[in-house]
């Protein structure tokens, strides 16, 4: 059994590396294939090995998805907020440090989450009925705080308008019939595409990337960001409709000024903590909060304490390996970015995202991409924070709770 589990973990790490590095490919795509094949697979592989594979893949994905977010400006939903601080560091020649910070956040979040696992299990069942009632107010207060934090009245108004615009557009997009990948189109346009287009028009040049530069972040900020990431990852893991990005918005209001570096640690840690702690939610309150856990529930059925412990051990092994792979791949990307003309790289990525958008959803997909890019560019030109574009996820969540 141990050999089967170790092979499953290694396979999960490899597949998670692929899904993390490839924009547009999410682990949910792989889990759907695994569940569909489970009737055949279960003749050869014990169900717990399949579950372990999914956990290892999911954890690894949360480490590696920082790389396309930083170097290519092509984030998934979990990394959307990291694109701008990551891009800023890339322009300063510190792309590798941006990935390293994200990796540090993810890694320490795994360790802290595992240490606090028993507490999470005990508190989840107790908190769940109350948390559902107050989360909408927490979200509204956090959003208002972020809007009011802008420096002038004009920027406050602009932030609110952009927030509502992104949210309303997202509600319309999610309700469009026939769209296969609404989230990919929305987030690519709002965050990745708009940032890349602006940097192309501004003739941004990516300097040589330094891989040996020391991190410029006090240990105190790493600790703050990691604790906030784990705490809010816990909330994201069991509250319905609240994902990593929404939690990151709320978390950023509690950590104080931790800079771009601290924010990268926070978002990286939050994504990973959310994924790991969601194992708690299926065990403690019998609620599956993401595609990976739904798939595990379908394949294994009953998740007992022994299964949870196996998953925890698998997550620790996968996290250790993911750190090594992530840092190595980031160095490869540094060399690639240095050798390739940045303009050509950006154009290639833009063409790739456009082609993906067309492949998934044809002309309608391109239209959604174009409009979301326009909203993203508007936020940049108005000089307000890109975090207000998270209205695209928060407003649908508010509708879910309020209506």
């Amino acid at each position: 059994m141990i050999i089967e589990l170790l092979i499953a973990i290694l396979a999960g790490v490899l597949v998670g590396t692929f899904t993390g590095l490839t924009p547009g490919i999410h682990i949910n795509l792989v889990t759907v294939i695994v569940v569909a094949s489970s009737v055949f697979l279960l003749d050869f592989i014990p169900p717990i090995a399949i579950g372990t594979f999914i956990i290892a893949m999911a954890i690894t994905h949360t480490f590696l998805d920082a790389v396309p977010g930083v170097y290519l400006g092509a984030p998934d939903d979990a990394q959307a907020l990291n694109v701008l601080p990551g891009h800023r560091m890339l322009i300063k020649g510190q792309g590798h440090n941006a990935v390293k910070l994200n990796t540090i956040g993810s890694f320490f979040a795994v360790i802290l989450s595992l240490v606090l696992f028993p507490l999470f299990i005990l508190s989840m069942a107790f908190l769940y009925p109350f948390a559902r009632k107050f989360i909408v107010f927490v979200l509204i207060i956090a959003v208002l705080y972020l809007v009011l934090r802008e420096h002038s009245v004009a920027k406050k108004v602009a932030a609110l308008v952009v927030f509502i615009l992104a949210g309303v557009f997202a509600v319309l997009v999610f309700n469009l019939p026939g769209l296969r990948q609404p989230l990919f189109l929305l987030l690519s346009g709002l965050f990745g595409f708009s940032i890349l287009l602006v940097s192309l028009l501004e003739n941004a040049k990516i300097p040589e990337q330094k891989t040996c530069e020391e991190l410029n972040i006090p240990k105190k900020n790493i600790a703050k960001a990691t604790f906030a990431a784990t705490g809010f990852g816990f909330l994201a893991a069991f509250l319905p409709g609240i994902g990593s990005s929404e939690s990151a918005i709320v978390a950023s209001t509690t950590t104080g000024d931790i800079g771009d570096e601290g924010f990268l640690v926070l978002v990286g840690g939050l994504n990973t903590a959310n994924m790991l702690i969601s194992v708690c939610s299926i065990y403690a309150i019998d609620k599956a909060r993401n595609g990976a856990i739904i798939a595990i529930n379908k394949v294994i059925g009953v998740i007992d304490l022994k299964t949870v412990l196996v998953f925890c051990a698998s997550a620790l092994i996968a996290a250790g390996l993911a750190v090594v792979i992530c840092l190595y791949v980031s160095k490869l990307f540094c060399k690639l970015v240095a050798k390739v003309d940045y303009r050509i790289l950006v154009i290639t990525i833009l063409v790739f995202i456009t082609a993906l958008g067309f492949y998934f959803d044809s002309v309608l997909g391109l239209f959604v991409l174009a409009v979301s890019t326009a909203i993203g560019i508007a936020a940049s030109q108005l000089g307000i924070g890109k975090n207000h574009l998270m209205g695209c996820l928060i407003i649908p969540v508010l509708f879910y709770f309020l209506l």
Binding site: G301, D304, K306, L309, L316, A319, G320
Partner: protein, 119 residues
């Protein structure tokens, strides 16, 4: 934090994880119970049972069989299309559940996670 430190720490964690996995898989075992001693307190608990398959049937996504000790209890194995021949000695690890369909007799059934053939 230096990159070398981070790499050493991560590899240590992987090794600790492997040791932890080894301990869980080998040391953590389920309590074995006789079918006749199952009570309401055992509902929702994961236990181990050994017995002989009395009769078995399967569909695309469900295998059911009666586990006999000689006391009989129904066992359900989801997502599996396997026919276990009657008379096979098996070890079942599964969760005890209340049997809501009294046509099959008995108060409890077992939702199996794992069924091993014992020689």
């Amino acid at each position: 934090m230096k990159e070398a430190t981070l790499l050493k720490l991560s590899l240590c964690c992987s090794v600790i994880g492997i040791c932890f996995l080894f301990i869980i898989v080998n040391a953590v075992d389920y309590s074995e119970k006789q079918l006749s001693y199952i009570t309401r307190l055992d509902v929702d608990s994961t236990l181990k049972f050994k017995g002989v398959v009395a009769k078995s049937s399967s569909t695309a996504e469900l295998t059911t069989f009666d586990l006999e000790q000689p006391c009989r209890t129904k066992v359900l194995l989801f997502n599996k299309n396997t026919t276990i021949p009657a008379g096979t000695k098996v070890e079942v690890i599964g969760k005890v559940s209340e049997n809501t369909d009294k046509r099959y007799g008995g108060n409890y059934e077992i939702i199996a996670q794992e069924v091993k053939i014992v020689k």
